[in-house]
């Protein structure tokens, strides 16, 4: 075994979703030598494909009191440690004429039992607070829901892990485990871009692969029963609502409308999908129809609002260990010690849970890691603010009015935005006009946030996420990336891949304005720039 200092870690974490990033941060904060590996980009899986809802827990209050109280605790923590990722909007659980108003009492009682502030308000007051709400509502309960940007949250966790000494490798796939007897002592990695393979070693390896964790566990010789549940969502062109809208009834399909940054999101559907489809999810016309139909019941104006795109994620549902059929599904946190469970020392799986409870999941996993390593360090992730959410007073002088890009970047990067240059007119000029991303911000992302391609850039900033879905900004951003990476050819390939990725999300909703937009985009890139002839070469 070729073990040396540089390729030996205390802990290797597999998976660059929010759980992996959160665990890497926790491990690094506790002084462990940490490596995070992700086969694609951070947030590529379920982390980047959900509502971005800062659950108050109210949704689970009636059916799952434990999840509900976990949610409200984490909700309050995130408001403090991840201020720049969170919008404290509050939410309404509305009762429509077709719903049972009697459920409201049960709901409020369950919320209060879980420690969630829940107050019934008058329908007229609800209409005043949220003018987009279905005016025929007969009841409303106000709860501390909000929205959270999962891209920012993951980026901030990964960034803080790095600031505390962790190493983060994206586009690095685990292709096998290195064993010493039954003990896992390291992993074999392949760099997906250079195709080179390497080995790294660690005392403990944590599987935080989400739904892909099923395969990772299999590779390690353990069996974790997971069932992929697909959830589809639609993104609308602008913020339709400013309060999160829910239906006050047992959780069902398409009954949450979340305002997130400049847009609103409706979701989700829920359907089991075969395991071999999880890397290639398609949103079906039936799902789109269902989302629009149910969404319009929450806010009627959705029916006349442009749908920007559709996407789907996979929830990693974990079956209880003694249940092979998969009927008994846990939505709670599952932290498996494979040493005691499967006689595989050095291997832990952290799964289940939800975006809201990522920090708690990370805490559980890190506690287990520390116990195994005999490290006696307390978890501090609930107290220390994430980078971007610090309360330092060192903000820029506001003597001159800030440019729109600077103000928008402040929303995205919080206190880290002071690292974004806005000195020259060039720095301030916009790459993405819809989302007000400046050249300075793109430079910052390339410099500090591990951006290699347009997809990374989109998730670290908001380039290409706005109304035009990359029509105007993609070529500008590709130009900047080409310059930074010193390769025009790769930038062209990246541009073509990015536009295809954008089209994939627009295709299921390509009618009216969205169809016009895609047509215009294809004229620009195929007709004017000749990107299609390039792609065929």
């Amino acid at each position: 075994m070729n073990v040396n200092k540089s390729n030996h870690f205390d802990v290797i974490i597999i998976g660059g979703g929010i759980t992996g990033a959160g665990t890497a941060r926790d491990c690094a904060l506790r002084g462990l030598k940490t490596l995070l590996v992700e086969r694609l980009d951070l947030t590529n899986g379920a982390t980047g494909r959900n509502h971005g809802l800062l659950h108050s827990g109210a949704r689970y209050a009636v059916t799952d009191g434990e999840s509900a109280s976990e949610c409200i605790k984490e909700n309050m923590i995130l408001r403090r440690i991840a201020r720049h990722c969170v919008e404290e909007t509050d939410g309404l659980f509305i009762t429509l004429p077709e719903d049972d108003l009697g459920f409201q009492k049960t709901f409020i009682k369950a919320c209060r039992r879980a420690g969630i502030r829940a107050e019934a308000i008058d329908p007229a007051e609800a209409r005043r607070l949220e003018p987009s709400v279905n005016p025929s509502l007969i009841g409303a309960v106000r709860v501390p829901d909000g929205s959270v940007d999962p891209f920012r949250l993951t980026t901030a966790n990964a960034l803080d892990a790095r600031l505390h000494g962790a190493e983060v490798r994206t586009y690095t796939e685990v292709i096998g485990f290195i064993k010493d007897g039954r003990r896992i002592v390291g992993v074999k990695l392949r760099d997906r871009q250079t195709k080179s393979e390497s080995e790294v070693y660690a005392d403990i390896t944590v599987n935080a692969g989400g739904i892909w964790g099923h395969r990772i566990a299999e590779m390690a010789g353990a069996r974790v029963n997971m069932f992929p549940a697909k959830g589809a969502l639609l993104i609308f062109g602008h913020r339709v609502n400013n309060l999160v809208l829910n239906r006050c009834r047992k959780p069902a399909d398409a009954d949450i409308l979340v305002p997130g940054d400049t847009i609103s999101l409706i979701g989700t559907t829920s359907s089991r999908v075969p395991y071999d489809e999880i890397d290639d999810l398609q949103v079906t016309p039936d799902e789109v129809n269902l989302l629009l139909r149910e969404g319009s019941k929450l806010a009627p104006s959705l029916a006349a609002t442009r749908v920007l795109r559709a996407y789907a994620g996979v929830r990693p549902l974990v079956a209880a260990d003694n249940d092979e059929s998969g009927r008994s599904i846990s939505r709670g946190i599952v932290c498996l010690d494979h040493e005691t469970r499967d006689d595989i020392p050095g291997f832990i799986t952290i799964t289940g849970g939800k975006l809201m409870t990522y920090r708690l999941m990370a805490e559980w996993a890190t506690d287990m890691v520390c116990k195994k390593l005999n490290v006696d360090k307390r978890c501090q992730t609930a107290e220390i603010c994430l980078p971007g959410s610090s309360y330092d007073k060192d903000t820029k002088s506001i003597a001159t009015p800030l440019s729109i890009g600077t103000r928008a970047a402040e929303g995205r990067h919080g206190s880290m935005s002071k690292k974004i240059s806005a000195d020259s007119r060039l720095d301030r000029s916009l790459v993405c006009e819809c989302e007000a991303v400046s050249i300075g911000e793109v430079d910052y992302a390339i410099r500090e946030l591990r951006v290699r391609n347009l997809l990374n850039l989109r998730r670290r900033t908001r380039v290409g996420m706005g109304t035009c879905q990359g029509e105007l900004c993609a070529c500008r951003a590709a130009g900047l990336l080409g310059k930074a990476n010193g390769c025009a050819r790769k930038a062209q390939e990246d541009l073509a891949a990015f536009l295809n990725e954008r089209w994939r999300g627009m295709y299921p909703v390509a009618w009216n304005d969205t169809l016009c937009e895609t047509q215009f985009t294809s004229w620009v890139y195929e007709g004017v720039c000749g990107l299609d002839t390039f792609a065929k070469e």
């Binding site: 400049t262 104006s301 442009r306 729109i404 706005g466 109304t467």
Partner: protein
């Protein structure tokens, strides 16, 4: 926040980001600080819906020329979105200067009383310098002169009585400029209409159309005045009298800004608010009336399309009428903004941009060696006269000068 307003009435979601509006924006071309209509309108509206603090004072640089809306292939009301955002989100409230500039009728009625004195003082460099320093009204600006007799007073004394003699009649919304500054334009219209067999009446109650109030963020007062005007117009229409105007901006404001920006419904009477040139041209075109012109009238005339005329799409009526005059050598100027935009160009902070925007137009006018420039907007008139030295007349006044009144009356007996 009223989100519904944005999805229905002022939808920005058809915007495909083609940016043609910004190409046609006169301000974006002259001032790099202005983000352009696409950014200021549909793009930033999404941010303002998220949080009003994303409102940007650079929106005050918008002229409200609506050339962006004319250019837009997707029918987005870009100018309306920008103007509405200014009214809704701007923290800058109108100051004394704005009250003086925007209340054209109040200022007009005071000024006409002491017209000779006011006109003389407004020409004095000392007075202009004081206005510049105290009010930030640019001292380069030539101020409009006031008339000693208001149009309304003249009309009541000299014209009203005989208007009952006609079978057909119209109402005339004269506007502040005709009433306080240039009654001749109104007299010219009465002369033409009487000659072709139409009686002219004033509205029961006429208030300033409010365009300057809107652009200076005095929305509530503008809405009150709009309601008064629309109610008067309703009574006139009910009496079978369409309402004619001689100012493209008043016309555009009452037809489009009332419902779009002020929320004052005018759907029942909107089609009855018509620029006089359109009304006359259509009557001639349909053979309902005939015009006879003086043989000795000879003029080389270039027509300037005011921005709001471009938005109305009506310059064809004014120019077609001018082309009917045998003695007119007609030239069409490129459709360019003159830069004044009502009260905009009077403000010190805007003056340099105002002149920069108008420069290509001034250059073209100066190069043509014309006797007159014709245009349907009084503020364009001030700007072009000040910046080129060429006399500017409303097409109605040109028509009245060229008309053989007796012959015309005979033809329309």
């Amino acid at each position: 926040m009223n989100n519904e307003q944005h999805t229905n009435k002022q939808s920005f979601e058809q915007c495909v980001k083609c940016t043609i509006c910004t190409v046609y924006c006169p301000v974006a071309a002259a001032n790099p600080d202005y983000p352009g209509p696409k950014q200021a309108g549909p793009d930033l509206e999404r941010y303002r819906l998220k949080n009003p603090r994303f409102y940007d004072d650079t929106l005050d640089l918008c002229l409200n020329c609506k050339r962006c809306e004319v250019a837009c292939p997707s029918n987005v009301k870009i100018g309306d979105i920008i103007l509405s955002a200014r009214l809704k989100y701007s923290a800058k409230r109108p100051k004394l200067r704005e009250y003086i500039l925007a209340n054209t009728d109040v200022m007009g009625s005071m000024a006409t009383t002491f017209a000779p004195l006011v006109n003389a003082s407004l020409k004095l460099p000392a007075v202009k310098n004081i206005m510049d320093r105290t009010l930030a009204i640019d001292h380069h600006r030539t101020m409009p002169t006031y008339s000693s007799q208001r149009f309304e007073a003249w009309f009541k004394q000299h014209a009203q009585a005989k208007q009952e003699n006609f079978d057909r009649s119209v109402s005339y919304f004269h506007g502040c400029y005709v009433n306080y500054n240039h009654p001749k334009q109104g007299k010219d219209l009465v002369k033409i209409l009487n000659a072709i067999g139409y009686g002219v009446h004033l509205l029961d109650k006429e208030k300033c159309c409010g365009v300057a109030l809107i652009s200076n963020k005095m929305e509530a007062q503008a809405r009150r005045q709009a309601k008064v005007n629309i109610n008067s117009i309703r009574r006139s229409v009910a009496a079978g009298r369409p309402v004619l105007t001689t100012s493209s901006t008043c016309t555009f404001t009452m037809r489009d800004e009332y419902p779009h920006v002020l929320g004052v419904d005018n759907a029942d009477v909107r089609e009855q608010i018509v620029l006089a040139t359109k009304f006359i041209f259509e009557a001639v075109d349909a053979g309902r009336v005939k015009l006879a012109f003086r043989e000795d009238y000879r003029k080389r005339i270039a027509y300037h399309t005011p921005c709001h005329m471009e938005k109305l799409g009506w310059s064809i009526y004014s120019t077609s009428l001018l082309r009917m005059i045998p003695g007119v050598e007609f030239m069409m100027l490129d459709s360019l903004c003159c830069g004044i935009a009502g009260t905009y160009g009077f403000k010190r902070e805007n003056y340099p941009y105002s002149q920069k925007i108008g420069e290509p137009l001034f250059r073209q006018i100066k190069s043509l060696g014309v006797d007159l420039v014709a245009t349907d907007c009084e503020t364009c008139k001030w700007q072009i006269e000040m910046s080129t030295g060429v006399t500017v007349e409303n097409p109605i006044s040109i028509l009245a000068d060229a008309l053989d009144v007796e012959q015309t009356m005979k033809l329309n007996k």
